[in-house]
């Protein structure tokens, strides 16, 4: 599947190839159009690497230039000048909070439906409905998911989840609401990774368990789910990186206050019902596109954000390497 026949361009040759290539065609003897395509393909591959390196290096440079420990550990202030507007401790907490809520909602839903699709999946039409629903969720823009969240959680029924005004108006905005909508972002990758893992498990695993008199659901819980653990981990990591990187949902549903504002007096619930921002909206708000003209803060926060994304990427790669076939899943699910 990989490297070409020995006549491939330089260094594409496995070590086994003899040094002398004899009369086989080498790029030098190809028609100019073929040579142009070859050059273009190399340029595309190398070009992507150069662009990625440029992004990481530039953000790293700006990050080292502007990021100070004080920024991470101080809370944002409302101020007109860049010097007085504090750091981004609250957005950092917001990002962590949203990630936890989003994953907490997405994983049970995604794993349950993946198990159902892979192991039961009857009636077939229903299974197809569920699978296409997830595909639609995967294709729905985050901004539309955010608007949907706003419209549904502004209903009076959901007032206990939401930040409310003095007069009882329901804003449809809070951390828990943003987190629930975030779970829709993490759902497709977790689902795809789990389902593909389940479907690629060899049949004898199930047969052995059945032969021991285990029921289907016991087999799933004791045998199948433990063996797709690394797939689920890959899916969760991909889901986390989608949640961490999302701006639109936080912008519309988390309320947009620079600090974490609480609602009510119950200790944990008041934060969940409260409003705030995440790193992404902090970057957005401090860029020229938002109101705050504080590009230095935006660069610093974006650098932290990029580090998170890089770390999650490393984790996906690591999981992919330890279990041979989920690497392909990782690449495929990244596209979902």
């Amino acid at each position: 599947m990989s490297t070409l026949t020995p006549s491939a361009p330089p260094a594409g040759v496995p070590a086994a190839a003899p040094p002398g290539r004899g009369r086989r065609s080498s790029p030098g003897s190809w028609r100019w159009s073929d040579r142009a395509v070859l050059a273009a393909a190399w340029a595309a591959g190398i070009g992507l690497c150069v662009i990625a390196a440029a992004i990481v290096l530039y953000m790293g440079f700006r990050g080292i230039q502007y990021l100070r420990p004080g920024l991470i550990f101080s809370r944002p202030q409302v101020s007109a000048s860049q010097a007085g507007s504090g750091g981004f401790l609250d957005p950092l907490i917001g990002t962590a909070l949203l990630t936890v809520i989003g994953i907490a909602f997405a994983v049970p839903l995604a794993v349950a439906s993946a198990v159902w699709i892979a192991e039961y999946g009857r009636p077939t039409w229903l299974a197809r409905v569920v699978e296409s629903s997830i595909e639609i969720v995967a294709g729905t823009p985050d901004i539309v998911i955010a608007l949907f969240g706003l419209s549904i959680f502004q209903l009076g029924v959901f007032a206990p989840l939401s930040f409310t005004s003095e007069g009882g108006g329901v804003y449809g905005q809070s951390f828990v609401i943003a987190g629930i909508m975030m779970s829709l972002l993490a759902l497709p990758p977790v689902f795809a990774a789990t389902r593909d893992g389940m479907q690629s498990l060899p049949g004898h695993l199930r047969e052995a368990a059945f032969a021991l008199g285990k029921t289907r659901i016991t087999t799933i819980r004791r045998v199948l789910l433990p063996s797709v653990r690394s797939n689920i981990a890959t899916g969760v990591t991909l889901g986390m990186s989608r949640i961490i990187g999302d701006t639109a949902i936080v912008l519309l549903l988390a309320g947009g206050t620079p600090r974490v504002e609480t609602q009510g007096s119950l200790p944990v619930v008041n934060v969940l019902r409260g409003t705030g921002s995440a790193l992404t909206t902090y970057v957005y708000g401090n860029s020229p596109a938002g109101e705050g003209q504080a590009p230095e803060k935006a660069y610093a926060a974006a650098f932290v954000l990029l580090i998170f994304v890089l770390l999650l990427n490393l984790i996906v790669g690591r999981i992919g390497r330890t279990s041979a076939d989920s690497g392909a899943v990782a690449v495929a699910a990244a596209g979902v």
């Binding site: 065609s25 595909e135 608007l147 660069y299 790669g317 690449v331």
Partner: protein
């Protein structure tokens, strides 16, 4: 309570529970379509399908909506969204066409040409590019690329030529499409690479044995075999491109303006709004019912196109099953 949970479940109940949870996702999608459609309804009621067409200035129409308040007269609901739709189509088309060319070349490079060592670098790089948050692309766009284009690439003659219509700052079609290309190319590469690796190597070897050079063989046999996957990649990537909101909002100049190809090269520097970036721009004003309906109508169109594109993606992937490959 927990004790009951730990005991083995009866199989039947487990199946029903899992099925019900899965069904919840379907119900959620249905609710999404219904809620967005209901909120968007007043706009369609007043404008019919004329909503899709051109006519009048969007700035004025949306300005009226913002100013109207709670008891808006019917005339305020007048909206012709063509400039936004056009902006969406324009940026997505440019990005998908450019991205597809790059993605096919890069995939061939990754799967067929790159030495093993280089491939081990390129694959994580592609994955990284796919997972960089859009706000970071937007930030680099607005702080680095837009000022660069505005100061060095657009000549003052070009700025003067359209001075009376629109101000050129650098933010616009060109920068937005370029960054969008960068954002969707990795998705296409992932899908095309997967298809490329699933083509039996013997097919290409046969072509090489018949005297084609290896690159020709790839073009004539491998790429031809995965044509449906290439189309599917383009379809999925365009779903992503159509829905991109934050990055476009940051680098597109934020003017409800329809760039005119008739302006020649200047066209590439003219500002625009897409449906998704318009939602970001106007979301704060959705307390006003007419504007709320307008914003939700943009969302409904996006949702509809996501729906169509996912069906299209499914249909074009069908022929792939013939080769027993996953697309």
């Amino acid at each position: 309570m927990l004790e009951r949970f730990r005991k083995p479940w009866p199989d039947r109940r487990a199946e029903l529970t899992l099925g019900a949870v899965s069904l919840l996702i379907g119900v959620g999608v249905l609710a999404m379509i219904v809620f967005v459609a209901v909120r968007a309804w007043p706009i369609f009621q007043h404008n019919g399908l004329g909503w899709l067409g051109p006519g009048g200035s969007l700035e004025v129409q949306i300005g009226n909506m913002t100013a109207a308040g709670a008891n808006a007269p019917a005339a305020v609901f007048h909206l012709r969204a063509w400039p936004f739709i056009y902006g969406t189509l324009l940026t997505s088309t440019i990005a998908v066409v450019l991205g597809l060319i790059i993605a096919v070349l890069a995939s061939v490079f990754i799967v067929e040409l790159a030495p093993e060592r280089l491939r081990r670098v390129v694959i994580p790089v592609v994955r990284l590019l796919a997972s960089v948050p859009s706000v970071i692309y937007g930030l680099i766009g607005i702080l680095v690329i837009v000022p660069f284009v505005g100061n060095h690439i657009i000549t003052s003659g070009q700025k003067e030529s359209v001075e009376n219509v629109v101000q050129l700052t650098g933010a616009g079609v060109g920068v937005a499409s370029l960054i969008l290309t960068l954002m969707i190319t990795p998705i296409m590469i992932a899908l095309i690479c997967e298809a490329l690796t699933s083509v039996p190597p013997s097919w290409k070897e046969g072509a090489v044995a018949l005297g084609l050079n290896p690159l020709r063989a790839v073009r004539a046999v491998t790429l031809r075999a995965i044509r449906p996957a290439i189309v599917a990649a383009a379809v999925l990537a365009s779903a992503r491109a159509v829905g991109e909101a934050i990055m476009i909002q940051m680098v597109s100049g934020g003017k409800s303006f329809a760039p005119k190809p008739i302006d020649g090269l200047v066209f590439l520097f003219e500002p625009l709004r897409t449906l998704a970036s318009a939602i970001v721009d106007y979301h704060e004003g959705i307390g006003a019912p007419p504007l709320r309906a307008a914003v939700y109508s943009f969302a409904l169109l996006l949702l509809f196109s996501a729906f169509i594109l996912s069906i299209a993606g499914y249909l074009v992937k069908l022929p792939l099953r013939k080769y027993q490959t996953r697309g």
